[in-house]
């Protein structure tokens, strides 16, 4: 049985957007092709206002220090990206408060090469994850 896309509008968290200096974490080492694949997966599953939602997952550093977030959620990633909210916003990327805090989705409009190259540039260089392999549990069950 096939289902409808999961409409996100009513599921978005009603909270203040993260501050401009807030760090945003994305694990892994991305490429244009990987980002495209991930964005298209999101659009297969989710819609926003009835339109397939192209998006990329990130976590904001909210409510807990970066070290704890990395240990709880990113210990499987050798490398991470750490852009700021302002860096994303200034390049035109909107953050949607999807899933459970502090998860967000970077909304894409087309997920074409040009937009994905811009996103990859905004993410910046992938750096080593200081908490790689230091997990003390994925995260607390919510």
């Amino acid at each position: 049985m096939l289902g409808d896309r999961i409409e996100q509008r009513a599921l978005l968290r009603r909270e203040q957007p993260p501050g401009r200096t807030t760090l945003v974490v994305r694990g892994g080492r991305d490429s244009i092709d990987k980002l495209r694949s991930h964005a298209q997966r999101t659009a297969r599953a989710w819609s926003l206002d009835g339109v397939p939602l192209l998006g990329i997952s990130v976590f904001a550093v909210l409510d807990m220090p970066l070290e704890i977030l990395l240990r709880r959620r990113f210990a499987s990633f050798r490398t991470i990206y750490l852009p700021t909210v302002s860096h994303l916003n200034e390049r035109g990327f909107e953050l949607l408060a999807t899933g459970r805090r502090p998860h967000f989705t970077i909304r894409l409009l087309r997920a074409d090469d040009r937009e994905l190259e811009k996103l990859l540039a905004v993410l910046g260089p992938a750096g080593p994850n200081p908490q790689y392999a230091k997990t003390d549990g994925w995260r607390e069950e919510g």
Binding site: G27, G28, R29, K34, S57, S76, R78, T135, D136, W138
Partner: protein, 85 residues
């Protein structure tokens, strides 16, 4: 390099709080049943996960996954210790 059972973006999480991906991204979808232990992710980043449930969505079936603590390599070491004669 990992050879995963099911491709996923380990950054993805939905309103359930679980990691998710689509069933048709599994190498063998028959292995993806609630309670099963699988390796999810991609060739660069992977995690041992437990399948939580399968839910129709969009044009396919969403698989919710609960990532387990530790690295894939940790589980290999565990199994090797357990099976050592």
């Amino acid at each position: 390099m990992y050879r995963v059972d099911i491709t996923a973006d380990l950054n993805d999480e939905d309103h359930t709080g679980y990691l998710w991906t689509f069933l048709d991204e599994a190498r063998d979808p028959a292995q993806i049943t609630p309670g099963a232990l699988v390796v999810a992710g991609d060739e660069d980043a992977a995690a041992v996960c437990q399948v939580v449930d399968l839910v129709p969505a969009g044009d396919g079936t969403i698989v919710h996954l609960r990532p387990l603590p530790g690295l894939v390599d940790d589980y290999r070491a565990l199994v090797e210790r357990a099976l050592a004669s």
